[in-house]
């Protein structure tokens, strides 16, 4: 059987149904405000993070520009990242994709027109991990190549076009590659692979032409989880730069973190606006609880005079506040889902992140805050009721 004080509270709420419901509506509004504002902020952050992390989820590792050799004692530029360093990076990167890159710049000829641009040597399997092929297919043959969007436009190229690589010199026979695909425009890429004015060739073709087998100009690590980027960088640093700085490790995450923190501030601000409605709700709950106490003075007198402990009287009124809170929180929780979804879809236009834990957690948060606010508003009325003088209370009509 239930606690009789809970029964008394339920009956009191039922007796003053309209008044109790009106007070609960305040809590409903408060919960909805907090939850949907919170979800709006969270969805904003999540979608911006997603847009940015296509650029910033990459760790760029280049060989340290200058290092001192022990023999000469004079600074020389390093040759690149060697095989053993690459293996160290792979070990430190764990599950994340490690993409070694050869790179240089070259002259080339398409048809009869000469041009100049970057040339990247990549393992064909790595291409689709971070590049988008707009037309045609990925590199399949040893002499296949991909071209960037700008080159393709400027030189009027199609899939199947041929490019002669190297300086235009009649005395030398230049190697030729066949365009198997054209890449989508990439713009300025913060992972250091600017393909728009470049040609992508297979790594084997590249090393055949330029040498430097197993010496890479750059190694990129693409993070599956952006939040682990700092740990992974630290792991690589510890593994590779053990004694001297062998490589330089950079990423664009500082840009993301500054945007994230701005969005976090905006979220806190709109949450604060939402909480104002909860303060209003708290006042109305307090008011209803005081009315309940004042209307039941004689009843409280009866309860006290026949031996009810003060704590039991307090419990009875706190239950009442709790019931109002639960009604408000449950209705508010459901309403938040509906209203929150509408607000997110109207203001962000993308509800893909709505049901992710970071966003949906604002519903239980809002509900708990609503109930806590109710109980807090009931504290003083409950205290007042329990500290009445039973004689005075009995005498009141």
């Amino acid at each position: 059987m239930r606690d009789i004080f809970l029964d008394l509270s339920i009956r009191s709420v039922r007796l003053n149904f309209l008044r109790s419901i009106l007070a609960s509506i305040g809590i409903v509004i408060g919960v909805v405000a907090i939850s949907s504002m919170g979800m709006l902020g969270a969805n904003m952050q999540l979608s911006v993070k997603q847009q940015l992390s296509s650029d910033v989820n990459t760790i760029m590792i280049t060989s340290d520009v200058v290092r001192t050799t022990s023999t000469a004692g004079t600074p020389v530029t390093s040759e690149g990242i060697d095989k053993s360093t690459l293996n160290d990076i792979k070990n430190a990167a764990g599950q994340n994709d490690v993409i070694p890159v050869h790179r240089t710049s070259t002259q080339f000829t398409i048809g009869s027109t000469d041009g100049r641009g970057g040339i990247y040597g990549l393992d064909p399997n790595d291409v689709t991990k971070f590049l988008t092929i707009d037309q045609g297919d990925n590199i399949r043959g040893a002499n296949d190549a991909l071209v960037g969007a700008n080159i393709a436009t400027n030189f009027n190229m199609n899939v199947g076009s041929r490019i002669k690589i190297g300086q235009n010199n009649v005395s030398v026979t230049r190697p030729t590659v066949r365009v198997s695909g054209i890449l989508a425009a990439r713009g300025f890429a913060s992972d250091g692979i600017n393909t728009d004015n470049a040609i992508i060739v297979p790594d084997t073709w590249y090393t055949d032409q330029y040498g430097n087998k197993d010496i890479y100009d750059q190694v990129n690590v693409i993070m599956t989880n952006i939040d682990e980027i700092n740990q992974t960088e630290a792991a690589i640093d510890e593994k590779v730069n053990r004694k001297t700085n062998v490589v330089r490790i950079t990423d664009a995450s500082s840009r993301l973190s500054s945007i994230s923190s701005t969005l976090g501030t905006i979220t806190s601000f709109i949450l604060a606006i939402g909480s104002i409605s909860l303060v209003v709700a708290a006042v109305s709950i307090f008011n209803v609880m005081m009315m309940s106490v004042n209307e039941r003075v004689q009843e409280i007198g009866i309860l006290l005079s026949i031996g009810t402990e003060k704590g039991e009287i307090r419990r009875m009124f706190l239950y009442e506040a709790f019931i109002l809170g639960v009604i408000g929180a449950v209705v508010g929780g459901f309403a938040s889902l509906v209203i929150g979804y509408s607000v997110v879809s109207a203001m962000i236009g993308n509800t893909a992140y709505f049901f992710m834990p970071e966003s949906i957690m604002y519903v239980p948060y809002g509900m708990i805050i609503g109930i806590v606010v109710c109980i807090a508003s009931g504290l003083y009325p409950a205290w007042k009721a329990s500290n009445m003088d039973p004689i005075d209370a009995l005498r009141s009509e």
């Binding site: 059987m1 239930r2 009789i4 029964d7 008394l8 009956r11 009191s12 007796l15 004689q298 009843e299 007198g301 009866i302 309860l303 006290l304 005079s305 026949i306 031996g307 009810t308 402990e309 003060k310 039991e312 039973p390 004689i391 009995l394």
Partner: protein, 226 residues
């Protein structure tokens, strides 16, 4: 007297501090009430009857003097101890019945048991008490506002008795009832006294006071006849 009386007032005074000055409601009252006495307290309005009942009911403490109930000094007890004493040692019957409006007749009677044992009654004692005052199960489900005055007072008596108190304090128990119903309630109280309880009754009505074995008359806060 060898054994200590159940209730002992030793030079008890109660002074209320009002804006118009101090008002002495009880003025150096000394009184012993033994176990299984049936005492009526009479007196005109303002004579201190209610103050006396509040003292005996441990709802208040004396300004000076000592009040012992069941051997314990009321003034020396903590608030919680006084609350437990009201629950366990004293049964109250009020003129206006004072049932809890949100509880059914049965729950009103069960309520003191819940206070004492911190759980709903499974012993059937609440039912026994209601049956003893002439209530069946159907009537016990009614809320106080669905019952007549006489019925409400029966429920109140059942509630007062359910924790088996030594002392039954009745404040004008027939005051809000017609004469016939009033005498029926008095019959119940007389039987309770015969069963061994100490009954203390405040009344205006000399006819009701005749049922008691001893009548104490108060005037201006003093006992004028005992």
């Amino acid at each position: 007297m060898s054994a200590r009386p159940l209730i002992q007032l030793a030079d008890v005074s109660k002074v209320y501090h009002l804006e118009s000055g101090d008002f002495t409601a009880l003025n150096h009252v000394s009184l012993d009430i033994d176990e299984n006495e049936f005492v009526a307290i009479m007196g005109p309005s303002g004579s201190g009857k209610s103050t006396m009942m509040n003292q005996l009911g441990i709802l208040d403490v004396p300004t000076s003097g000592h009040l012992f109930i069941d051997g314990k000094d009321v003034a020396a007890m903590s608030n919680l101890e006084r609350t437990h004493m009201r629950r366990d040692v004293i049964g109250y019957i009020f003129q206006k019945f004072y049932l809890i409006p949100l509880l059914s007749a049965y729950e009103n009677v069960e309520y003191p048991l819940i206070l004492k044992y911190k759980k709903r009654d499974e012993s059937g004692r609440a039912w026994d008490m209601l049956r003893a005052v002439g209530f069946d199960r159907a009537m016990s489900a009614h809320r106080p506002n669905q019952l007549s005055g006489g019925q409400q007072q029966r429920v109140a008596i059942a509630r007062a008795l359910v924790n088996d108190p030594k002392i039954l304090l009745c404040d004008e128990p027939t005051g809000n009832l017609d004469r016939k119903t009033g005498f029926a309630i008095m019959d119940i109280l007389i039987n309770l006294h015969k069963e061994g309880r100490t009954v203390i009754l405040v009344t205006h009505d000399p006819k009701i006071a005749e049922f008691a074995h001893r009548t104490i008359e108060l005037e201006d806060g003093r006992i004028v006849s005992s």
